[in-house]
């Protein structure tokens, strides 16, 4: 029984991401041009916040099917939710692949914004001036960057549209970065937040999630992709 096979694999909690490994070729609705990963990198290029986002709306069909056996398996083992992963920190939840991509894009970031380079659009003020733009396309994603005055870097990994190569609506992304900067400043103003550590704040997590969801619902559109699920 394929479902039983999947659930038994899922109970191995070796990795944080227990992806269903049953081999079924099934259509998966995915959001094109969706923001899949976000990184906040500090002054000395230390990671402050790394987080993946699963596109919420479009993958309802695929998501529910995947959640079925996983949820059942977890509930059977853990009826009271002591080991529930729902309280797991959103920070650091980004997959290894995304972390590699972001690390590679960081090199390009340094190249663009390095000493003496004129990368700022002349005459721009405020958050428009901090927008760096497309860092580089890697495999099937594109990475965009945003640099604050205090050398805090924000990077967004956008999944490329498979079929239609529509140009990314940068204005939406710019306003997303501005709101993220907003949130970051609010986080640092908290006297109880660590001075130079990873961002571990539930409010920050929730608000980032909200902004990214609204961005994804505005910009991305549902497309059909056939994948191994």
């Amino acid at each position: 029984n394929i479902l039983k096979f999947c659930s038994s694999r899922l109970t191995e909690k070796k990795t944080r991401h227990a992806k269903p490994t049953c081999l079924l070729l099934c259509p998966r609705w995915s959001l094109e041009m969706a923001l899949v990963s976000l990184a906040v990198v500090g002054r000395e290029n230390e990671p402050l916040y790394l987080r993946d986002f699963k596109p919420s709306g479009g993958s309802a069909i695929g998501g529910v099917a995947a959640a079925g056996p996983e949820a059942d398996a977890e509930d059977a083992e853990d009826p009271f939710g002591f080991f529930s992963k729902s309280e797991a920190r959103a920070n650091d939840s980004s997959s290894l692949r995304h972390q590699f991509i972001i690390h590679a894009a960081l090199d390009r970031f340094e190249e663009i914004t390095g000493s003496g380079n004129r990368w700022r659009t002349p005459g721009a003020t405020g958050s428009n001036a901090m927008w760096v733009g497309l860092l580089c396309p890697i495999e099937d994603v594109r990475v965009y960057g945003y640099l604050t005055n205090t050398s805090i870097k924000f990077m967004a990994v956008i999944e490329d549209g498979g079929n239609s190569r529509q140009p990314l609506r940068e204005s939406e992304l710019k306003s997303l970065f501005a709101s993220l900067h907003d949130l970051y400043v609010e986080y640092t103003l908290n006297p109880f937040s660590q001075l130079r550590g990873k961002i571990s704040s539930k409010r920050f997590d929730d608000d980032v999630g909200k902004y990214v969801d609204s961005y994804n619902s505005k910009v991305a559109k549902v497309g059909e992709k056939y994948t191994w699920a």
């Binding site: 002054r43 700022r120 721009a124 003020t125 405020g126 001036a129 901090m130 604050t148 005055n149 205090t150 050398s151 709101s179 900067h181 907003d182 400043v185 609010e186 640092t188 103003l189 006297p191 001075l195 608000d207």
Partner: protein
């Protein structure tokens, strides 16, 4: 930012941050300080009373004083308390600033500290910024009426202590956050006759006899870097 004259812009900034979140303030701790919103821009909006700040600061000093064994340890604790404030103030002001350039030159960052940071925290710019003649790496920021030591009288047996160590921590935080490592110390220097002609801004108090001088000593790498940028 807690002081007699917190400039309205900083509090408006915080208020606007909150409003843009479009989240109803859950508790009194989430609401912005000062009477905001309904009143519009009244004169006292966004200001924290001097007495509230002085009371809180005196408690802070007393708290640390009961836990240390020496004067320098007390100063170091006050400085580290102010360090975090400095980092955060830098982040906030950089976010709010209209111009998008990051200060990389020594004189520019010092002017930023003595004007923008002072205005944001204390409602007025620092009184003067001087360069030391003897040492090329020393600068002095002078404040004739530092808020932190307005209501503090240092007893004789704690001779060299300056209660403004908190502010020197703030300065050190701002400089460090901007990439200029520096050692900042606070000193109380007697005011000469006729040096300071302005009436004290808090009415009813006699003119201050001491001014606060913040000595900023930059590290060697910073100076070398600045000299290299000069060329």
């Amino acid at each position: 930012c807690g002081s007699k004259g917190c400039s309205p812009t900083t509090h408006n900034a915080v208020k606007n941050l909150f409003l843009s979140m479009s989240r109803p303030p859950a508790s009194i701790l989430d609401r912005p300080v000062g009477r905001g919103g309904a009143r519009g821009s009244s004169a006292t909006e966004g200001y924290v009373s001097l007495s509230a700040f002085a009371y809180l600061y005196s408690e802070l000093v007393q708290y640390h004083q009961s836990r240390v064994a020496s004067i320098s340890e007390l100063e170091r604790r006050l400085e580290s308390a102010g360090y975090g404030v400095g980092l955060k103030v830098l982040e906030l002001l950089a976010y709010r600033a209209r111009e998008s350039k990051r200060e990389t030159r020594l004189m520019n960052i010092l002017q930023f500290v003595s004007s923008s940071v002072w205005k944001a925290l204390f409602g007025k710019a620092a009184d003067s910024l001087e360069r030391s003649i003897d040492h090329a790496d020393e600068f002095m920021i002078v404040d004739y009426e530092p808020v932190t030591s307005t209501y503090v009288s240092v007893p004789a047996d704690l001779g060299q202590l300056s209660a403004d160590a908190y502010v020197s921590g703030i300065i050190a935080g701002v400089l460090e956050g901007a990439g200029f490592t520096a050692r900042v110390t606070a000193h109380s220097v007697r005011v000469e006759e006729g040096e300071y002609a302005k009436a004290p801004s808090t009415p009813g108090l006699p003119a201050r006899k001491d001014k606060a001088v913040f000595l900023v000593k930059f590290s060697r790498e910073v100076l070398a870097r600045d000299a290299a940028l000069e060329r």
